[in-house]
Symmetry: C2
Subunit: 451 residues, 2 copies
């Protein structure tokens, strides 16, 4: 080993030791860690040790920004100067039944704000937008950066998966975190999310931080800390950022699965769809339109979004996007073209009363067990299966009435899953107090306002 | 990936997460981590994350024992049933000028206690017995297990380096710790030391835990904690274990280097040698003879050791061992056969007074800079160079009198090292209070007695 490399290698261990001992790593040191990971000077096991030290010691704002920036620069940063207007994306931290992006992106684009969206796949109990989109026959989510930019310019929105070109260091580090028990670290989550999002060529970002049993963040304080850091670091990176904290105790909407969720999102574009999905879509859309500069207030933004639904302009953009990405755009007008399991098992209410609980985590895990999701990244999903949550918390229900329906290819062998779905519900005498969908809203300069 | 392997892989991550969250890992879980590391099911980066979690959360006694046992079982355990008597080894945690093993092993063997000794190399400011032994022309430290057992049986002692067969998991984990800033963890140090020592086929073990500037453990409390855990875990493994805490603020003896230290150890066998080296050798030897069952008390043991020196029996065993290991045994009777640098630079006292300090760490690092040691495991050492500490703390000194001598191949280019050695000394008006060589003694059942 040449002398210079030897000196460098020693310094890398010292960087790990400094973090271990509670000191800050300088931006330069963090940049060196990430570039050394890319070149192979820093081994995966050294990065794993650093990640575990970060789990215990945390990262301050400057370190989190430096990590985000270094991971962002590990790959290609997409430039969308050829697309006019303020480019705005939305990112959700993941939940059960969260199909909002599929309606939101075309709707916001229809209102004049370009939406370049790089989405993820489902993992564990949470679903992923890419899996849902691929329920549309022919739809391709693996496009190159040039096709992505062209479709955003021509259609107004495009929804693809992360490419190997975008933030490869994040991809590598995420893979390590997944198998080294270092996923649950707020600064690491922030750097992972933002490094990918900042590489998309966006000007502004709306974050939907889910909180509750079906979310990654189970409690409000953790979710709030995550949202705050996302806004802070995103703002420091020169982007306009807003975060909403939204309820994820019960699944969002009725459908949980892939084709069933895509159908429900297209329902929203058609002016239909469950109230909570519509509301979530509109609230996030309001923020995007204001950040995108096409509306001066949230109420003005809402009016534009509602008009885009009523006129069918949102659906038309969805059709053009699906067509541009190789999919069968006829699904927008005719949702029956989506293949959905032909068998059904009904979970009935055991008594009269009010639904107290429809546990998103349990329902999400039941959907994974049906085949709609994956417990490891290398598994494939079955697009046609799913769960329809017929009764949400607060709903009046009579004995024998359906609480949920399992949608399947065949009825046999699903007994344990049916029981899991049954156990996700609680029915009692009194209606639970209604809770707001949006729990908090966070904007830059650390200011917090209730919605 | 087959289902069973997938389930297993998930459990391994859960084991890491449990340690991360402060829970104990069961002996079975720790055994699975180590065997999965050997088979490749657990990747190095996963082990690195677990090691960093252990750095923060620690291991309890049961976990430390389980780790020691699993690492021990990762390789071959030497059986020395063919060697009569209670086999006893000594292990030092490392210091500057610590050449004790080279005199001690033949001396104890000469008193009838077989000593199977697997030693290490110098790293950082601390020297290593193997490097010192290799200053003897022809001496081979890389012997196979069968040769090792034969020489212990025929000669009474043998001193070799760790082979690939002994505790390979420790070797792999130590390599990871070195580059992931997870070296300084007491339970990990204990498991590393004991897994190798327990694989040697010993019945009893005397530990020399060095404390002070020149030691790995700089303060008494940490050294005491290490000694206590070593005794506890070693005893749990069914061995008779005693630990001495010994002073390592100044180098042990006069010589620091390789050939110069071997010469000094052979001086001890010849009834010469500096008082502190002789005393350290005798104190450790007493413990070994008592554990080995050839002496009923420390005073009886001391009398035997002194007699073995006076009669030359210790030197005769050393000659037979050196011969059996391929070395030139004539060095025992004629130490001038050891090649030692012909040039010398004297560091003089700047004033009259008493030596207050001869800093072992600084002198150790100066010796590394001369080439006597290594800062990375892949470097080679120069056997002929070294430093002679002419005046130890407490010594009366006059202005211009030598404090130390650098022994070199050539005088040029050593200016910075000379200054480093000069800076290691402090001379003042009053003699510092003399401190004991042995600071504490620890035996099983958590009992502690002052020496």
């Amino acid at each position: 080993m040449p002398l210079l490399a030897r000196m460098l290698a020693r310094s890398l261990v010292e960087i790990i030791a400094a973090k271990r001992d509670g000191a800050s790593n300088s931006p330069d040191e963090i940049g060196r860690l990430i570039s050394a990971l890319s070149t192979g000077e820093l081994a995966d096991y050294q990065m794993a040790a650093w990640l575990m030290a970060v789990f215990f010691r945390g990262l301050d704002h400057a370190e989190t920004f430096a990590l985000t920036d270094a991971m962002l620069r590990s790959g290609r940063v997409i430039h969308l100067e050829s697309v006019a207007g303020i480019k705005v994306d939305k990112h959700s931290t993941g939940g059960v039944g969260d199909k909002v992006s599929i309606a939101l992106a075309p709707l916001v684009a229809a209102c004049g704000v370009p939406v370049p969206m790089v989405s993820g796949r489902g993992l564990g109990h949470t679903g992923g937008t890419l899996d849902k989109l691929e329920a549309i026959p022919g739809f391709r989510t693996q496009l190159g950066v040039d096709d992505f930019a062209r479709i955003v310019r021509d259609v107004g929105c495009c929804m693809i998966g992360q490419t190997a070109e975008i933030a490869p260091a994040d991809n590598r580090i995420y893979g390590l975190r997944d198998v080294t028990a270092t996923v649950e670290s707020i600064p690491l989550i922030v750097a992972s999310i933002l490094s990918k999002k900042l590489a998309e060529g966006i000007d502004a970002l709306v974050l939907d931080v889910k909180v509750g049993r079906g979310a990654f963040m189970k409690d409000g304080a953790t979710a709030r800390a995550l949202a705050e850091l996302l806004v802070r670091v995103g703002t420091r990176a020169g982007k306009r950022v807003v975060a909403l904290l939204t309820d994820m105790r019960a699944p969002l909407g009725v459908a949980v699965g892939n084709a069933v969720e895509t159908r429900e999102a297209l329902d929203v574009l058609a002016g239909e769809g469950p109230a909570d999905v519509v509301e979530c879509t509109l609230r996030l859309g309001e923020e995007m339109l204001v950040l995108g500069g096409v509306a001066g207030s949230q109420s003005e933004a809402r009016a534009k979004l509602v008009a885009a639904i009523a006129s069918g302009r949102g659906s038309r953009v969805a059709e053009r996007m699906i067509d541009a990405q190789g999919g069968d755009a006829r699904v927008v007008a005719d949702r029956s073209r989506l293949e959905i399991g032909s068998e059904e098992i009904v979970v009935e209410s055991p008594r009269d009363g009010y639904v107290l609980r429809a546990d998103a985590l349990e329902i999400g895990l039941a959907a994974v067990a049906l085949g709609a999701g994956r417990s490891r990244a290398d598994q494939s999903v079955d697009h046609v299966v799913g769960i329809l949550v017929e009764k949400k918390p607060g709903a009046r229900v009579t004995r024998g009435e359906p609480l949920a329906r399992l949608v399947l290819r065949r009825r046999s062998g699903a007994e344990a899953i049916v029981e899991r779905v049954r156990g996700a519900f609680a029915v009692g005498d009194e209606a639970p107090p209604p809770g707001p969908l949006v729990l908090d809203r966070m904007v830059a300069a650390n200011s917090t306002s209730t919605p």
